[in-house]
Symmetry: C2
């Protein structure tokens, strides 16, 4: 213990104690998310907290290497990694023990990850709770759309208001620069300018792509407004195909969930590490942090897959805490049948630890001290006023 | 990925992937445990996976030092520990942020821990799931009994048959040896003999305690049979007081849960590290591993507390897996209202990813391939035969 028990340095930055109302809200909320996922056929799996480094940080996991804590396994002397992300684990399972299951393979998961340092944009710390789904096998706009629509349905069932899904295509800009043969040396400055949405710099650095890049930069916003603008931008073949896929995914989402708020940011690529297709970030009104993110990638380097991961630590700050359970103090000698019936109805019936001889005045005082609304004496449940 | 994807060395020893029926059974089972705990007034908290070494491994956590993985926090350059046990974290919370809450303080928790190497007796590996309760403040037989009775109620609600609670008093033997002034140098050999239940060695090494220790060694078994035997053993004051407390705890349990199967092993002390009073191990018929354990300790070195931790990874191997959800294939163009109604009734309604033009024969084949029992065409749910 440190000298000051209230010191914020009691726990390392980014690790927190979740206290009663929040901890229960999160636990029940995650269970509710997993049940929505299951109702769309996503089966629950639970990969471990640690894996061998060469397993977890291979393939799509490689980009996570600098965010991973490592320890040596004293048994094998091989390095193990504390998982910074669950998606690569699901990919590994799909490629090994679940390899023979029919595709599309739908899986869900929920658990904690740990990253070495939180990213600057991320207020949520280093222990990151994840709850999500992966759809493995098909590579189609319908599959991309399903993941987004299931996620939207889960948020609706949690009563999260003002949700929007921001779509992007992280491969669009790299494809464009490559097809236009922009020299490698010029790309980093241009990418930084695009990342900062700095129109002047993009125009100055873009060379013969200036016009196209400026048009893409300006075409960010609601899907309905932006897609017609994008359709008029003249793009080379691969960039055109990327944009075409994005358009098809929007159409597939609208067919399933016509009221979903969709925005598009065609030049957004930051934070997408192993993704190869349409990607999505989930936001809610009045919340600066993202509720979740996902997209298309290659599962274990060769099988098409897409997924979406929610951040329950952000999500459940947006819903009211679950109502505190009603508390009833069960005095010594009170009916255990009545107490059990109360428990069956969702009441916290707290057994007295007083000796039977202490008398009713003591029980009433204890009941009040423990925040109970009622006291159970014999078979009578009496309200405390 | 290793060359053989089915190689057992894909994951480090003691870390496993939990697959669909087991993962769902565990997740729902842990949620059910936490709900039983809450119905007795135990509020849910969620401490973090990692803490600073000097915080987590102080006080009652000190004995866990050799079982803990450590990594350096790059921000503070202080060492952090991956928790090997949750109970010391609850003790820390009770002594800091929850210090001002009224006592008795009842808390519950559920989460994963990691130990460096599994103990030889423990087949469950290095990632250990824990779900348990702590009752902080009172030091009374009623408090010891409450924790055991709540645990018993949770197991009953999970339909675990043949449960027994094995009570012990790890402080009894050390108190006896000290009161009888057994020389320090002789104690280790005697403790080992007691640990092995080696009556001949105990008799040979026990000196003037031989008779008492042999009597204690033989007095192991059902509480009803053993307590009268123990009452006849002549013990010095502190050992007598320890036994008296054990007797009172049995009486308090019987008053609440008369049918609970209680056994006593008065010389058992192995595996109790920071405990100071009556301890308990939970077993079930036909299962060699313990389902849980707990006991009395000093919370943060000074506040009386007792608790019990279940091992869900052991526990949920004893219950049948949750029934697999019924799966219905939702063909393109089928009624989304009917599909949503199915989902609301606990069915997995799996949306087709086929194009609408592919036709019914394709949908039927897909439905069968994905293990569906029914197919939803328009608004009709048709059984697959």
């Amino acid at each position: 213990m440190t000298e000051d028990p209230y010191s914020p340095a009691l726990l390392p930055t980014g690790f927190v104690d979740l206290l009663p109302p929040e901890a229960r809200t999160e636990a029940e909320g995650v269970a509710a998310l997993v049940r929505v996922f299951a109702s769309y056929g996503y089966d629950h799996v639970r990969p471990p907290l640690m894996e061998f480094e060469e397993t977890l940080l291979s393939g799509s996991g490689l980009s996570l290497a600098d965010q991973s804590f490592r320890v040596m396994d004293p048994e094998t002397r091989r390095m193990m990694v504390l998982r910074p992300d669950i998606t690569p684990q699901i990919a590994r399972m799909a490629a090994t023990r679940l390899q023979r299951l029919p595709r599309p393979l739908r899986l869900s998961y929920a658990g904690s990850c740990v990253v070495v340092l939180p990213s600057a944009a991320d207020e949520s710390g280093r222990q990151i709770m994840q709850a999500g789904i992966e759809l493995i096998g098909p590579d189609s706009p319908q599959a991309d759309a399903e993941v987004i629509c299931v996620a939207a349905e889960a948020l609706q069932q949690l009563d999260i208001p003002g949700v929007s899904f921001d779509l992007t295509m992280p491969s669009l800009i790299p494809a464009l620069l490559e097809e236009a043969a922009v020299p490698e040396a010029e790309r980093p400055a241009l990418m930084r300018a695009l990342d900062r949405k700095d129109a002047a710099a993009v125009s100055a650095l873009g060379g013969r792509l200036s016009e196209i890049l400026t048009a893409l930069l300006q075409a960010a916003g609601p899907a309905d407004r932006v897609l017609p603008l994008l359709a008029r931008v003249s793009l080379p073949a691969r960039a055109r195909a990327a944009l075409q896929r994005l358009t098809e995914v929007v159409a597939a989402i609208k067919a399933q969930s016509p009221d979903l708020r969709l925005t598009i940011d065609p030049v957004e690529f930051r934070g997408w590490k192993y993704h190869t297709g349409v990607c999505v970030t989930v936001f809610a009104q009045g919340c600066s942090e993202e509720l979740g993110r996902g997209g298309r990638y290659l599962c274990n380097d060769d099988e098409p897959a897409c997924g979406l991961t929610f951040r329950p630590d952000v999500l459940f700050r947006l819903v009211p805490n679950m109502p505190v359970m009603q508390r009833v103090y069960v005095a010594p000698g009170a009916s255990t049948d009545v107490a059990d019936a109360l428990r069956g109805r969702g009441v916290a019936a707290i057994n007295s630890l007083c000796a039977p001889a202490e008398g009713e005045a003591v029980y009433y005082a204890e009941a009040r001290r423990l925040g109970c609304s009622h006291i159970l004496l014999d078979a009578s449940c009496i309200e405390l006023v």
